[in-house]
């Protein structure tokens, strides 16, 4: 019964992590001599997440892969976990800690890719407004910064990003209000997985679908539907399934003493991908295959 346990700790409850859950499951299937689980903190806050990890360590977990809520400043807490288990990071890195490796995307790159989508869809320039859950979160900041960098020198401008604290009602109302407040807006960016579907719905309600360029992140079904329909220009998808699947296998190997999978710089970047109209079907099929549904 005492199989070594590996835990995948996410930063907050969101459908985004369902793919990672599938990845954990697949890895578990291939490695029955480990116990693998994915853990959601009750809230997206440092204190709650830190407590969860400490309890897991008490419960005897051997390896932790974490999407830290606020990696920059969680250094000490993460080091504490890292000193008692094999610690890996995912989703956003914490390079200053004693973590073994980071496996995930580069959020700055993802922002750059969002800029690519915008440039392609609006060769004559335009005015963008962004929407995001937690304005203060690292991944949000990096994506926004990446996009701004990518848009430098073009006639496209990201003028404002509105936050909603992961309240979907506010997320949608923010889009509605933006349409009123900035009649000249020509493009909208949904930085978090649920922002793009809210943009899609608000535009549909306002009869503006197709008139405003939508740049998306992640692969919410509505987002993918909109891309396929042509009303969303394209979306930048991350690969949480791969993070989890490859990550768990890597961690298991590492604990067995096989450190060959860890690169010298400790970074295993699983690139984000732009999914446009033509790629949707293939991508959706692969999602389905991964989740085993």
């Amino acid at each position: 019964a005492d199989k070594p346990t590996l835990a995948f700790v996410v930063n907050g409850a969101s459908d985004f992590w369902k793919a990672a859950e599938a990845g954990v499951k697949k890895a578990q299937g291939e490695m029955p001599d480990y116990q693998m689980e994915l853990k959601y903190p009750e809230q997206a806050s440092v204190a709650v997440q830190q407590r969860l990890m400490e309890d897991l360590v008490s419960a005897g977990v051997k390896g932790v892969m974490v999407s830290a809520v606020d990696p920059k400043t969680q250094t000490d807490g993460l080091n504490k976990i890292g000193s008692q288990t094999a610690l890996f990071t995912t989703d956003s890195d914490a390079p200053q800690t004693n973590r073994v490796a980071y496996i995930g995307s580069s959020n700055v790159d993802a922002g750059l890719q969002a800029a690519e989508i915008a440039k392609k869809a609006m060769p004559d320039g335009g005015k963008c407004i962004g929407f995001v859950g937690l304005l203060g979160a690292d991944n949000a900041k990096e994506r926004i910064q990446g996009m701004k960098d990518g848009l430098k020198g073009t006639r496209i401008e990201l003028t404002d990003v509105r936050g909603d604290d992961i309240d979907q009602t506010r997320a949608k109302k923010n889009v509605e209000d933006a349409l009123v407040a900035s009649p000249d807006v020509t493009c909208m960016v949904g930085f978090y997985s649920y922002n793009t579907p809210r943009i899609y719905e608000a535009l549909r309600d306002a009869g503006k679908l197709g008139q405003i360029t939508v740049v998306g992140f992640d692969d919410d079904p509505i987002t993918l539907g909109g891309v396929k329909e042509g009303t969303i220009a394209a979306t930048v998808v991350q690969q949480p399934f791969e993070w989890a699947y490859q990550g768990m296998k890597l961690m298991a190997a590492y604990l067995k003493g096989d450190k060959s999978g860890v690169p010298g710089n400790g970074l295993i970047i699983i690139p984000t991908v732009i999914i446009g109209k033509d790629d949707v079907d293939k991508y959706a099929a692969s999602l389905k295959a991964m989740s085993g549904k």
Binding site: E42, I166, Q168, E176, Y194, D220
Partner: protein, 341 residues
């Protein structure tokens, strides 16, 4: 009462004018309609809360219920393929039952409303998250329910149907609270439950009804909210909505001690809160200040109200004193006359 409501209305209009001057787009029909829509959603929730507050109680589980019932509704029709004509009454009934359980715990087992509904707040959110295994409940792309969508998210001559629903509900509830025997009983219970019981009123039953009404209206607005966002992450959906509802009631003149407040007041309170949210976005105020603006305005509103009352009371006192003083000096000759008798 009516004066208080007028004051609130005035505040709403003044704020509206100021915002419209700074950004005239505030008055665009589309903006008004969008805001009216949310007034509808939150207004229904707040009226439910008001019924409980009138009895001197409180219902803290509202936000979690919006999440739980929303998740169930979406799951029933989007995943379980239940007809929405069946799912809708089912969810409403569930809301009523939960309200009844709260009322039962409070009136029969004598638990404190704050405690019961605080536990509800925790339990229902947990249940909602467990139900979706911390995932999201939402519709698939292109999944459509035209009738339901018209009712919940549609417009009628440009007026959102949710707002129309609020108006209808407000009128019905106004009659119920201000013109029916039931409403009178609720006020009596809120003012002095024991005296109400000694007058032969079935106080337990009445208080229970208030919680049932709250559960019912919360369920209705949960459905509306679900159809508005069309996707629900139970970890965060509806979080703090109980505070919105309580804040609307307090702004509208309700006392948390019970026995005070009017339906017009709570609706106006909701209008003000939504106007403020709209203003933050329209005037380009940082989103982070959203809550602070709300808190600040409630505090100022309550303070003005309180000061206004205090000043009026003081003025009454001073004028009373002056009156008696003149009477006093007029009368001062009288005893002399009386003595001469």
């Amino acid at each position: 009462m009516i004066k208080k409501d007028l004051g609130l209305l005035l505040l709403i209009v003044v704020v509206g004018i100021v915002v419209a001057i700074i950004n005239p787009r505030f008055l665009l029909p589309i903006n008004l309609a969008n805001t009216a829509n949310l007034i509808g959603l939150f207004g229904i929730l707040s009226i439910g809360q008001a019924f409980v507050i009138i009895t001197g109680g409180i219902e803290l589980s509202v936000g979690s219920l919006v999440a739980l019932l929303g998740v169930l509704f979406v799951d029933f029709i989007a995943v379980q393929d239940m007809s929405w004509m069946l799912a809708l009454p089912l969810i409403l009934a569930l809301g009523a039952v939960i309200g009844a359980v709260h009322g039962w715990l409070i009136t029969r087992l004598n638990l404190q409303p704050f405690v019961v509904t605080l536990c509800g707040l925790l339990i229902y959110r947990g249940a909602a998250r467990f139900y979706t295994a911390d995932g999201t409940a939402g519709f698939a792309f292109g999944q459509n329910f035209p009738d339901l969508e018209f009712l919940t998210a549609g417009r009628f001559y440009g007026v959102p149907n949710t707002f129309i629903a609020l108006v209808i509900i407000a009128v019905v509830m106004w009659v119920m609270l201000h013109r029916s025997v039931f409403g009178r009983y609720l006020y009596a219970i809120g003012k002095n439950e024991e005296a109400a019981r000694y007058s032969g009123i079935r106080t337990g039953c009445m208080v229970m009804s208030a919680y049932v009404i709250c559960g019912l209206l919360t369920a209705l607005s949960a459905i509306y909210f679900a159809m508005y966002t069309r996707s629900i992450s139970p970890a965060s959906h509806g979080q703090f909505y109980e505070l919105y509802a309580i804040a609307a009631a307090v702004l509208g003149g309700f006392s948390l001690r019970g026995g005070e407040g009017s339906i017009v007041g709570v609706v106006l309170g909701t209008v003000l809160l939504q106007e403020l949210q709209n203003l933050v976005n329209l005037l380009g105020i940082p989103s982070s200040l959203n809550f602070a603006v709300m808190g600040g305005v409630i505090l100022i509103g309550v303070l003005i109200d309180q000061q206004w009352h205090a000043i009026r009371a003081k003025r009454r006192l001073v004028s009373a004193a002056r009156q008696t003083e003149t009477r006093h000096s007029n009368e001062s000759s009288l005893p002399v006359v009386a003595n001469q008798d």
